[in-house]
């Protein structure tokens, strides 16, 4: 099993979610994070005091999938999250040793 993690632009979440549903991935966890790569942040001004804020709001997506699906899921996310503009984000995978569904106690691939 693999954990697929993606950091994407917030307004793309809906597109990614739909694309994953179409692919067959029905559950995911989402968090609001702040991030930056080579993308600039922005400046804020309050009564003459200028602040440079480097971070840009992003959304982080986490979903555990089977080894077989991992590469495809990454593809689906990349295609649906891309805008071509700087700041589109990144996707990565890490191996998962153990997975349990809390409600039923199912373990391993049964818990996907």
């Amino acid at each position: 099993m693999r954990l697929v993690t993606a950091v994407i632009k917030p307004f793309k979440l809906d597109d990614v979610k739909s694309a994953l549903e179409t692919f067959g991935v029905h559950g995911l966890t989402v968090s609001e994070v702040n991030g930056y790569g080579r993308q600039k942040g922005h400046t804020e001004v309050y009564r003459g005091a200028e602040y440079t804020v480097d971070f840009v709001p992003k959304v982080r997506l986490d979903v555990v999938v089977s080894d077989d699906d991992a590469a495809d899921v990454v593809d689906v996310i990349v295609k649906s999250a891309a805008t071509g503009q700087i700041g589109d984000g990144k996707v990565w995978t890490t191996p998962v040793d153990e997975l349990v569904r809390v409600r039923t106690g199912e373990r391993g691939p049964d818990a996907l």
């Binding site: 922005h42 804020e44 200028e50 804020v53």
Partner: protein, 407 residues
């Protein structure tokens, strides 16, 4: 001239109440937009107060209430720059100083223009909208105010009854909003994407301020403190209440839920409907008008989805539609003169106001869009107006920002 200090105090106080409605509108609308655009909405309203008040003093007061320049169509520029501040307002026999009347009417011009920020929510450029508001208040608002509010105006002379601005404010802004919605186009992702209110508590506070200020708007339009203003006051309150209840009942029946936004909107819808009528009908009629306003409003806000125009915060639906209902009902329910003839004059006023407001607003909006620009770029619309245009964020709940002063 003899001035009554009680009347004068009431009119000046009412002017302040009406002014307060615009910051109230900023809260009402601000809560309804997404958090990335709340400051832009609010500062557009603040900026509108500034721009329209200045333009009023310079030119539009004279165009609206100055001596008629011909045919009851527009006032002359004799009172431009608030010249002759002590000269009686043409056609009016006031017991308050002319400047008090001028101040009171100034606030009406301000809020009518401010209402248009609701149509263009989430996608208007700041300086573009302020320029638009300045021109609009001269070519759209002032003429209609002259026709209906000034005794020298041609609709006034035909016997059209508009106590506090059903035509001049509500239908005017409603029809103008429709034109503005067409020129601006739909928001990116509308209507599919979730664009839910980010802070309904702000909206409710704003609704409360609007309700409070409306007593100045309606009862102040009696331009005196006495029986008439008392009737207008009571009618205003009753209509707000039946509007609220009417909206909630229909909403519960249609969607299964009575919502906070519905309650706030219903009160406003009732207030809009009673605005042209409050000094002309009795209290029971006011309850009926408010109720019909609330019911009209809750149904009217769905129309934009059917015709796919993005009147973001329902200026057409709440102010336009309910304003029409209230104005026409005056023809039916007025204590003096109700009947076919009055109804026909009311209908004429509705049609003429809608046509002028829609047509001229379309032209002015196109003019601004093609010169300095009225709609923001897609990038700014996605990022959010607050950071992109105003370099500010509304909320900082201790979130990660990791910035520093300077560059």
């Amino acid at each position: 001239m003899h001035f009554d200090s009680g009347d004068t105090a009431w009119v000046l106080g009412s002017a302040a109440l009406v002014l307060f409605m615009t910051p109230g509108l900023a809260l009402f609308y601000g809560g309804m937009v997404r958090s990335k655009n709340v400051l832009a909405m609010m500062v557009q309203n603040l900026g509108t107060i500034a721009v329209v008040s200045v333009v009023w003093a310079l030119v539009s007061y004279s165009l609206a209430f100055g001596p008629d320049a011909g045919g009851g169509f527009i006032g002359s520029l004799r009172l431009a720059g608030l010249a002759h501040p002590n000269a009686p307002v043409p056609g009016l026999h006031l017991t308050v100083p002319p400047l008090a009347f001028c101040a009171f009417q100034m606030m009406f011009a301000v809020i009518t223009a401010a209402l248009l920020t609701g149509t263009g929510a989430d996608r208007m450029r700041f300086h573009g909208f302020l320029l638009f508001a300045a021109i609009w208040s001269i070519v759209v608002y002032a003429p209609i105010a002259h026709w209906v509010f000034s005794p020298e105006g041609w609709l006034y002379k035909r016997g059209v009854l508009d106590f506090a601005g059903g035509n001049v404010v509500e239908i005017d802004s409603g029809a103008s909003a429709l034109a503005l919605a067409f020129v601006l186009g739909r928001r990116r992702g509308w209507p599919r994407d979730v664009m839910a209110p980010h802070s309904l508590p702000l909206t409710v506070v704003g609704a409360g301020i609007l309700w409070f200020g409306w007593f100045g708007f309606n009862a102040g339009s009696a331009l005196a403190a006495g029986t008439l203003s008392s009737q207008a006051f009571v009618s205003t309150q009753l209509a707000a209440c039946t509007g609220l209840l009417g909206w909630l009942v229909v909403e519960k029946w249609r969607t299964g839920h009575a919502t906070t936004l519905g309650a706030a909107s219903g009160a406003v819808a009732g207030l809009v409907a009673i605005t042209p009528a409050c000094g002309f009908v009795n209290s029971m009629a006011a309850m009926l008008i408010g109720l019909l306003g609330g019911i009209t409003g809750v149904l009217a806000v769905s129309v934009k989805f059917r015709f796919r125009y993005d009147d973001s915060l329902d200026v057409v639906g709440v102010h336009g539609a309910c304003g029409v209902v209230g104005t026409l009902l005056v023809g039916v329910l007025a204590q003096q003169g109700a009947g076919g003839h009055l109804f026909a004059q009311q209908a004429l006023a509705v049609v003429v106001t809608m046509a002028w407001a829609f047509g001229l607003t379309y032209v002015v909006a196109q003019l601004v869009e093609r010169t300095v620009g009225l709609r923001v770029s897609p990038e700014i619309e996605i990022e959010g107006l607050d950071t992109a245009i105003h370099a500010e964020s509304a909320y900082d709940f201790g979130n990660v920002r990791a910035g520093r002063i300077g560059g």
